[in-house]
């Protein structure tokens, strides 16, 4: 491979990709998703494609396989792979390229594997279809790759079905699948985004090692700059289908040239000073143990936390740690087996149905997925206006005025009042949900992963808005999240949850300063940092294995 190291593998020239959109209430029209993007990739090099959702990064990645997803059309430019224009070869030409010269690793391995076939059959399928080797050779190669990717029992793991391995393992198996046919190029499409933060770094390290060992070139697509910085040699920043900046990884993260890149690099720069706890907490959770009906597994065990008025308690943990269950207990959707929830000095009845309308009003909730948290058949007027009508009996002019006020508070304005949720952007949807919660004039808002479905810059805006509203309205937040950067930005106190228990709880400054318990240490060290060589450092210094490994 040494003599071909400088050779160009992939050469995309003036790529233009279009799609037809069908906006509600308008005539269908064509939009440009990728506009005049060119890139070259040398053999064995890793190029990171960075951008927010809608930047066209996945579309460009797939175009290197000559594929347009969901009605997307490549309408201009050339994609040269190994010197041949793959767009000109027709379907037969593409079949020869895909799975042999270029392979793909999808974001959700769980959805990308066929649940009824054994892993080994799926991993070796492409290589066998292309007839590059006989079954024994390919299987031996796959077992070798399983070992390289750090999978347990590389000899036998191929005999398992997809549901018998963890999410992090499945993502590695998918990487092995891509490598099995010995391609020249692999497209990684957000391979670690769906994983927990502590699992993510193991998978990331495995992918990086496999890339280095096999000398394959890669397009690594992600919205997380810190993650891409760990694996790529060079980076391309995209916005709205256009190239913003292209350079060596070190240059992009240490000295970004363009304003947009600078914004991406410095995201989560909110500083929030911790407030001292007040004598009277607004919410006290005492000795709560809870299990889902019909099961005898306690998903929460002896939880004791407090939220103070006008302050934020961040509940941090991985998926399955019980943090969302805690929210269900507080709202009364899941009555606890033991323990009680005290709100503003009075004990709340454990079941939602028995709570008074005022109890319900003072405790509001904002959800992770704003799309499904709003009725798609109701306008903003109904969504925000209904709590006003329901709790305060506001009607007519009075109600309209208050809706306008709330829309101003969330920095959107009256112009949005007749829109349906489908006509709002992701950030705007979440803002409307915030307005709906505020309309009830609550004392406490439970925010369940409210920023995790949003792009970093948009999420930043939401966090700033929440902090502003907290200062103005003196409302307390119980903020559930898996993202420690968010916690640092907004919390006054923190509860770290692990397997249904609070393992660390206290004011932010205490929780985030050493000495740490093992789990908090693992969690804190797993948050990707925008620093070259961070990944290797962390892997070396870990004290505990992550659960999803």
């Amino acid at each position: 491979m040494a003599d071909s190291a400088d050779e160009t593998l992939l050469d995309i020239r003036n790529l233009r990709i279009e799609a037809t959109v069908y906006p509600p209430g308008e005539d269908p029209h064509d939009i440009t998703i990728v506009d005049d993007v060119s890139l070259t990739l040398g053999r064995g090099r890793v190029l990171g494609l960075i951008g927010e959702s809608g930047a066209g990064k996945s579309t460009i990645g797939l175009s290197s396989m000559g594929y347009g997803r969901g009605g997307v059309r490549i309408t201009g430019g050339q994609v040269l792979l190994n010197g041949r224009d793959i767009l000109k070869g027709g379907m037969a030409g593409l079949r020869g390229v895909r799975g042999r010269e270029v392979c793909y690793v999808a974001q959700s391995a769980a959805a990308a594997f066929n649940p009824v076939h054994r892993l080994m059959d799926q991993v070796t399928e492409a290589a066998l279809k292309h007839g590059s080797a006989d079954r024994q050779t390919v299987q031996a190669r796959a077992i070798d790759l399983f070992g390289q990717l750090g999978l347990p029992d590389p000899e036998t793991i191929g005999q398992r079905y997809p549901h018998q391995v963890s999410g992090g393992q499945l993502q590695r198996v998918m990487t092995a699948m891509a490598l099995a046919s010995g391609p020249d190029l692999i497209v990684f499409d957000e391979p670690t985004t769906a994983l927990d933060v502590t699992t993510q770094i193991d998978v990331l390290a495995a992918i990086k090692l496999a890339i280095r060992k096999t000398g394959v070139a890669a397009l690594y697509i992600s919205h997380d700059l810190a993650v891409v910085a760990q694996v790529s040699d060079e980076m391309m920043v995209l916005q709205g289908g256009k190239l913003v900046e292209h350079g060596e990884t070190r240059q992009v993260i240490e000295a970004p040239r363009e304003e947009y890149t600078q914004a991406l690099v410095s995201v989560r720069s909110i500083r929030h000073e911790e407030k001292p706890p007040s004598p009277e907490p607004v919410l006290t959770i005492r000795g709560v143990t809870a299990a889902y009906p019909g099961t005898n597994v306690d998903v929460l065990r002896d939880i004791n936390v407090e939220v103070h008025p006008g302050q934020t308690l961040a509940v941090v943990g991985e998926s399955g740690s019980g943090k969302s269950t805690l929210a269900r207990v507080i709202t009364g959707l899941l009555p606890p087996r033991e323990g009680e929830v005290q709100f503003a000095g009075r004990t709340l009845s454990s079941a939602m149905e028995k709570r008074s309308r005022d109890d319900l009003r003072e405790l509001q909730m904002i959800y992770q997925m704003a799309d499904v948290a709003m009725n798609p058949r109701q306008t903003v007027r109904t969504i925000v206006g209904r709590p006003l009508e329901f709790y305060f009996g506001l009607r007519g002019k009075e109600k309209e005025r208050r809706i306008a006020e709330l829309l101003d508070e969330i920095e959107m304005g009256e112009g949005f009042i007749d829109r349906y949720p489908a006509e709002l952007s992701g950030g705007q949807k979440q803002r409307v949900c915030i307005a709906r919660a505020l309309a009830a004039k609550p004392n406490l808002i439970i925010c369940d992963e409210v920023t995790s479905a949003l792009d970093p810059l948009v999420a930043d805006g939401i966090l700033k808005l929440l902090l502003k509203l907290q200062a103005e309205e003196h409302v307390a937040f119980l903020f559930i999240t898996h993202d420690l950067a968010t916690v640092r930005a907004i919390a006054d106190s923190i509860a770290v949850m692990y397997q249904g228990e609070v393992v660390r709880y206290g004011p932010k400054s205490e929780v985030l300063s050493p000495p740490f318990d093992d789990y908090t240490d693992l969690l804190l060290s797993s948050v990707p940092e925008m620093k070259l060589g961070w990944l290797e450092e962390v892997i070396e210094h870990r004290r505990m294995e992550s659960a999803g490994n």
Binding site: Y22, P24, G25, G70, T331, L333, M352, R355, R357, L360, R361, Q364, M365, Y367, M369, V372, A373, M374, N375, P376, R377, Q378, R386, P387, F390, Y391, A422, R436, A440
Partner: protein
């Protein structure tokens, strides 16, 4: 918005035919050349003679009988469908929203009702009860509502677990608001598509009942009954029984074409234009 040129030709054919059938049914008194029961000529006169479609087994004008038959058939089928939809969807939504024991009890009773072959069940019930149109509509509507119930419940179960319904519950909203304001608007698309299909089944069911002599009673005309009255003629090469049979088929197909088109327009699957 809906534009005429975007309607596929199959749906256009369906729309025109359906409209024609409904028009004839509504204005039967003005359109029909003779009355429903008037004997105008000899029995089983050929088509395209003095009477366009000939005459039936008693010498009545077949065209007029067809027109009045359209009125009865479409009226009874439409009323039965309306009944089955209001009943089935409200009960289905309620079962989905309340859940638990209530849902189990309602769903299992519906299963029980569905386990008995509908036609036999209807025959037994109708042979006991008086043979009026109201009874016929009630029996057809209630039997058919089990199908609508299952669809409505399935759709609503999907919707009740969505966050916006949970948000409404947490707000303290009552069941009426949740069923009619949160769930119904989101369940309407699949239900409307199903409406067309259920209407066709109602037409076929009514025709079958009438053919067996337990549906619409003579001398009132309805298509299934007309096939029965004239079926002896087939042996002699008289097409009088085939004409109402063809009308049943034509109505079923044209409504089906329209229903298919609506289903396509509202589906959320790939290529659909839903969510609008």
């Amino acid at each position: 918005m809906l534009e005429l040129r975007t309607i596929p030709w199959s749906a256009r054919v369906g729309l025109v035919l359906t409209f024609l059938f409904v028009f004839v049914a509504v204005f039967a008194d003005l359109v029909a050349p003779y009355s429903n029961t008037e004997v105008v000529s000899d029995v089983w006169e050929p088509v395209f003679g003095a009477h366009i479609l000939g005459t039936d087994n008693l010498g009545r004008d077949l065209l007029s009988r067809m027109i009045y038959g359209a009125r009865t058939t479409i009226f009874v089928a439409a009323m039965a469908t309306a009944l089955s939809f209001s009943l089935g969807s409200v009960l289905g939504f309620t079962a989905a929203v309340i859940g638990g024991v209530v849902d189990q009890a309602m769903s299992r009773s519906v299963d029980l009702l569905m386990a008995i072959p509908t036609l036999i069940f209807a025959l037994v019930v109708l042979s006991v009860l008086p043979g009026t149109l109201i009874v016929l509509i009630l029996v057809m509507g209630i039997l058919d509502s089990t199908r609508v119930y299952r669809l409505a419940r399935a759709v609503a179960v999907d919707i009740t677990v969505m966050d916006f319904v949970e948000a409404a519950r947490l707000r303290g909203e009552g069941r009426i608001w949740i069923i009619f304001r949160e769930i119904l608007p989101n369940a309407l698309s699949p239900l409307v598509a199903e409406l067309g299909l259920r209407f066709i089944f109602a037409v076929l069911f009514l025709s079958a009942l009438s053919f067996l002599g337990l549906g619409v009673q003579p001398p009132d005309a309805d298509w299934g009954g007309m096939v029965k009255e004239n079926k002896e003629g087939i042996v002699f090469g008289i097409p009088a029984a085939l004409i109402p049979a063809a009308a049943i088929a034509a109505l079923a197909i044209s409504v089906n074409l329209v229903a298919d088109w609506i289903l396509n327009r509202t589906t959320d699957l790939k290529g659909g234009r839903g969510n609008g």
